[in-house]
Amino acid sequence: MVRAVLKNSTLNTMQQTAGGGFFRLVLEVDGENILKATPHIGFSHFGIEKLIENKSYINAVSLLNQEYALVLAIEKLLKIKPSKRAAYIRVLLAELSRIMSHLQTVVSIAEGAGNSTPSYYGAAVQEKIMEFLELAGGSRLHANCLRVGGVYNDLSYGLMEDIVKWLKKDFLCFLDNIDEKLTEDRIFKQRTVGIGTVSSENAIEWGFSGANLRASGSLWDLRKAQPYDVYDELDFEIPIGKYGDCYSRYLVRMAEMRQSVNIILQIIEKIPEDFMIILDDTVATDNEKTVLSHSSKNIDEDYNVPAGQCYESTEAPSGEFGAYLVSDGSNRAYRCKIRTPSFAHLQAVPHVLKGNKIEDINTIISSLGIEAGEVDR
């Protein structure tokens, strides 16, 4: 007799993440349903931690929100604080790039659901934000404007007014537009509601942080809970989702973008006029080499960091971004461990994907805000 062994087929797929990086995902499927998913990472690993150990502190920089934690950790070891204006500028730039990142996630959720038109609208907005970052820091994508003890330079004349004008006029219109076209769309709802649901307990257990944790219903935001720089002086609300599915994560990100606009508008009102990078003069007397002033000559010179270890974390767009720094007193980090949110989120992907359909993989992975480059470091 014909005896056929029914076996679940496995698919070896390459997943594109929200930002464009790739990782490998091996799926065991039964028809349309995913029984088991195994992510394999490491394809874009380039050993940033080893590089940081072998470069001076100044050279260890990356994307804006990513270098933030590192800068804070170094400042903590040096016992210095940036001036008020510099701190406000930092927060402003961080919120701008948060908008950029959330926008990327939101449009890639739409793209995962099969509509790539919003991503073209999103690209125009991102282009504008990158223009602002370029004016602030000198380069587009890798804004590169945070420095230990402050920022690269004061914002150029009229930039803040431009940002406010653009945010109020164009950006809020754009958000309303997306809300109108996408949020209430029937098909979009069918593709996101109830897909990739993560309960509040599971979210904590699987190491979620940031917007994904909030979408599951936990009230947790590092900007408020453990405020750094000037976040404690700013007044903003934290959006909390109810169901923890793709739709909740999408809505939380949309609401957070509006809150970011709110934060930036407050910053423009509160920011002091004087520009100075260093506030705490005592540090300068502590260690001659840590004299940091706004002159570029001194900033580009190396400085030694007192021995010690500390962990600093910031609320990056996708979650908790931490830097664990061990210093031995030289001008290089002895050990710098970078904790990225995507690493934890990707680890939870097999749990989230289980029982869902093949078509929803992209929606789920983009809604978690996973970025392959951040996973691998």
């Binding site: 698919l11 349309e32 099969g114 769309d185 979009f188 093949i358």
Partner: protein
């Protein structure tokens, strides 16, 4: 004689496809706020085809190589063959056969069958998954679409396409059979691969389309077949529901315009809607789509067929 006609048909289809590709790109770019080439963009599809022609042909390793090479041609043929029975104007048709509508249906089914075989011959899991998706989705809508055609046949009382067009002189069938028109239009969206009723999800989504393994000439045939299929579906809708080459009203001014132009206008209206849906909507998930086809469209179409038949019978005999 017949060969020259076929050559004329193929070149007309090619020209129309090139124009369609250009208009499609232009429209999608307009919706997405992109800028693309102007009139010279018309040369782009031709250049693409020329470039593809010189690409390396990659064949699967298994025993299916012959089938793999032959199938795109067969697929293309099965779609172009439909054009043989479509009347563009009174008497302007390659073969005005009696069972024209049935021939169309048979060719639709045959092309579905060929898609499965293409998926099998590609010797790859991804092509196979894509083919299974496409086929399951098309079969789910195929039956309701066939019932929509049956309604038209009942009303017109003939299976010859030119008779069907002439029977719509008083009223186009899209009005009395409006729900069936919608059903058939959605079937056309499924077949032409437009979201939200898209057969296979491609791009950055995990499983590919059935044509994923094709390169070079095979891909030219499949891509060309796709655009010919878009043209075909709009032509079929025009013939069955929009009154073919007939002008909308019997006005003197409208009668002055050649009927071929009316046919073209109606076709382009359908094509514009196809292209618009491509950019505007997200895609339904596969299982929702299939459910929609089987559980909503099929029972509804069955009921409509019975109602249409009953109405025709009553109006013909004058009694219940």
């Amino acid at each position: 004689m017949i060969i020259s006609e076929i050559i004329i048909l193929l070149s007309a289809l090619f020209a129309a496809s090139v124009l369609l590709i250009y208009v499609e790109r232009k429209l999608i770019a307009a919706v997405r706020l992109k800028k693309i080439a102007r009139v010279y963009g018309l040369m782009q599809p031709i250049a693409d085809a020329f470039k593809l022609f010189f690409n390396e042909t990659i064949l699967p390793r298994g025993k299916t190589q012959v089938a793999f090479m032959l199938l795109p041609v067969l697929f293309f043929t099965s779609i172009v063959a439909c054009w043989a029975v479509i009347p563009v104007d009174e008497g302007v048709v390659l073969a005005d056969i009696n069972a024209g509508a049935l021939f169309l249906v048979a060719m639709f089914f045959l092309s579905i069958c060929l898609i499965v075989v293409i998926g099998w011959a590609s010797d790859s899991k991804y092509a196979m998954f894509g083919a299974l998706h496409s086929v399951a989705m098309m079969v789910a809508y195929e039956l309701s679409a066939m019932l929509a055609i049956v309604c038209v046949l009942i009303s017109s009382g003939s299976m010859r396409l030119s008779d069907i067009v002439n029977a719509q002189a008083e009223m186009w069938y899209c009005l009395p059979h409006f729900p069936m028109f919608v059903v058939f239009f959605i079937y056309a969206l499924v077949r032409t691969n437009c979201p939200p009723f898209r057969m296979s999800e491609s791009g950055n989504i995990s499983d590919g389309e059935y044509s994923i393994e094709y390169t070079s000439v095979g891909y030219i045939f499949i891509a060309f077949a796709r655009y010919v299929n878009m043209l075909l579906m709009s032509a079929v809708i025009t013939v069955f529901f929009l009154g073919g080459w007939l002008p909308p009203f019997e006005v003197e001014l409208f009668l002055l315009i050649p009927s071929v132009i009316w046919f073209g206008l109606k076709m382009s209206l359908c094509l514009l809607i196809f292209i618009f849906t491509k950019t505007a909507f997200p895609i339904y998930r596969y299982d929702n789509l299939v459910q929609f086809g089987w559980k909503m469209f099929l029972p509804f179409s069955l009921v409509w067929v019975i109602a249409a038949a009953g109405y025709t019978l009553v109006s013909a005999t004058g009694k219940f």
